[in-house]
């Protein structure tokens, strides 16, 4: 199984995680800029964070055989702090960088006017810089938040196929699917979504335009739940090719729209892909 985790906050994880992920088949990750738990009080803190998402973190990942790209944005929660507003002025500089494959995470946390403004402005930036957008949906009032998210996306004029709406569940998936946006699911140990529930959603809605991620961060989360979901798919009768589509080809298709995804020099796919496990003489 080869796995591309399209949403994981590796800055908050240890090198042991990188080792375990690489051993389990996770070869490529995208790390969205987000809230660090401790609020930041000035744009410079974001600049240093963005530098680390484009510099130190990809370098660290590469030492464990994992390819790392980033999405950059002012996250919805901190969009509410007027001291962080200057981050929007920093973004045009950073959105030119090679390692950036989308604008994100943007969207809503508490659905405030400040969030409206930052969300719309950053969708405009995505269009201006030819980047897809990764959109977070709120934990509280999720159904209403998702509807409002889709309205803002439609109003912005960005092509729905260039937008991933993340952290969906059984209640919010249908509307996003109908909008033409990509549907993102964060598989968590307890909350959000579990591997068996994810399999049911795939059975009902199909495997097109679906992104499955661990969204692992500094909270209770598990970077191997993408792999566990692939296994649950196989157990439920999905083919190895279906798993490869969901966990590898789909995220590549989505982020390759940036024109910047660089997967060269990745090791050859495991010989177990699509059942051709005897390719290397059983080694």
């Amino acid at each position: 199984m080869r796995v591309f985790d399209p949403h994981i906050h590796m800055t908050s994880r240890t090198t042991d995680d990188y080792r375990r992920m690489a051993a389990a088949g996770v070869r490529s990750v995208v790390e969205p800029a987000f809230w660090l738990g401790q609020p930041r009080t000035n744009p410079g803190s974001f600049g240093d964070y963005f530098d680390s998402l484009l510099g130190w973190e990809p370098y660290r990942a590469s030492q464990y055989g994992v390819r790392h790209h980033a999405t950059l944005a002012l996250n919805p929660k901190e969009a509410n702090d007027p001291r962080c507003k200057g981050v929007l002025d920093l973004l045009p500089h950073y959105l030119e960088k090679d390692g950036v494959v989308a604008v994100g995470e943007i969207g809503y946390d508490s659905m405030t006017p400040a969030e409206d403004e930052a969300f719309a402005a950053q969708l405009d930036l995505a269009r201006e810089f030819g980047l897809p957008a990764l959109v977070h949906t709120p934990h509280r009032d999720k159904a209403a938040g998702t509807r409002r998210t889709l309205d803002v996306v439609a109003a912005s004029g960005i092509e729905p196929g260039r937008v991933a709406v993340d952290h969906l569940n059984e209640v919010t998936v249908a509307a996003v699917k109908d909008s033409g946006c990509w549907t993102g699911f964060s598989i968590y140990p307890e909350t959000k979504m579990s591997p068996p529930r994810m399999v049911s959603i795939l059975q009902e809605y199909g495997i097109e335009r679906v992104l499955v991620n661990s969204a692992a961060d500094w909270g209770h989360s598990d970077p191997l739940l993408t792999v566990a979901t692939g296994q649950a798919m196989l157990d439920a009768g999905f083919s190895a090719d279906d798993v490869d589509r969901v966990l590898w080809r789909n995220p590549i298709e989505f982020y390759a729209q940036s024109g910047r995804l660089d997967l060269s020099e990745l090791p050859e796919p495991e010989a177990t892909f699509a059942g051709s496990s005897v390719k290397r003489g059983g080694s």
Binding site: L54, G55, W56, Y59, H93, D98, G99, R260, S264
Partner: protein, 206 residues
């Protein structure tokens, strides 16, 4: 790599037209370089150049774009591009420094690269641009290479610059390693032996 060689290599890539236009824009307006410098990586290609695996077309293009900045603007612009650059952009600055004739203004950039934990940046900082570094900083850089397992072949003019204090630092490291049952890399040991023979310095190898 001389600018002439880089230019010849770039002439062979299909995206050379993009580069010619970008270079002309930077010559006409130094403000244009910020965006073009960032884009050069993906526009010119991030794959290794044939026969020059240490270089990509993108990096060659970046070095030549830096050289296209008007001389009186260079000091400020180059520093800005380094501090606001990603690692590949910073590497291009370090590689270009030997041709940019910035003098002392290049030193803080090289010293920053030496402080990182990124082998690529540390190696580039000890290339030809390291001529600007004073001996103490340079020695620290060389010993850092030994710690980071960066081959000493990256160090420009190593044989010429290696001095007695460096030999003493390496000798001390060799003793620590011996006490811990760990080996010194062969290139560091070879350097230490060469210096010890030349100066009669007695290294206690393990």
């Amino acid at each position: 790599m001389t600018p002439e060689t880089l230019r010849t290599l770039l002439g062979g890539v299909p995206e050379n037209g993009w580069f010619a236009e970008a270079e002309a824009r930077v010559r006409a307006d130094p403000d244009a370089i910020g965006q073009l410098f960032a884009r050069a990586g993906r526009m010119l290609g991030r794959r290794q150049l044939p026969d020059h695996p240490a270089w990509t077309a993108g990096q060659a293009g970046r070095v030549l774009l830096l050289l296209a900045i008007a001389a009186e603007q260079r000091e400020v612009r180059v520093a800005e591009l380094y501090w606001r650059g990603d690692p590949a952009e910073r590497l291009a600055v370090l590689h270009a420094l030997e041709h940019l004739t910035l003098g002392e203004a290049g030193v803080p950039l090289i010293e920053d690269a030496l402080r990182t934990n990124d082998k690529r940046l540390v190696a580039a900082a000890l290339g030809p641009c390291a001529a600007l570094l004073d001996a103490a900083v340079w020695r620290q850089g060389v010993v850092k290479c030994v710690f980071m397992e960066v081959p000493l072949s990256v160090v420009d003019r190593l044989g010429e610059r290696a001095d007695q204090p460096l030999a003493e630092m390496l000798g001390g490291l060799a003793r620590e390693r011996a006490a811990a049952g760990r080996r010194m890399p062969a290139d560091a040991l070879a350097l230490l032996n060469r210096r010890s023979l030349a100066k009669g310095f007695k290294a206690e190898e393990g």
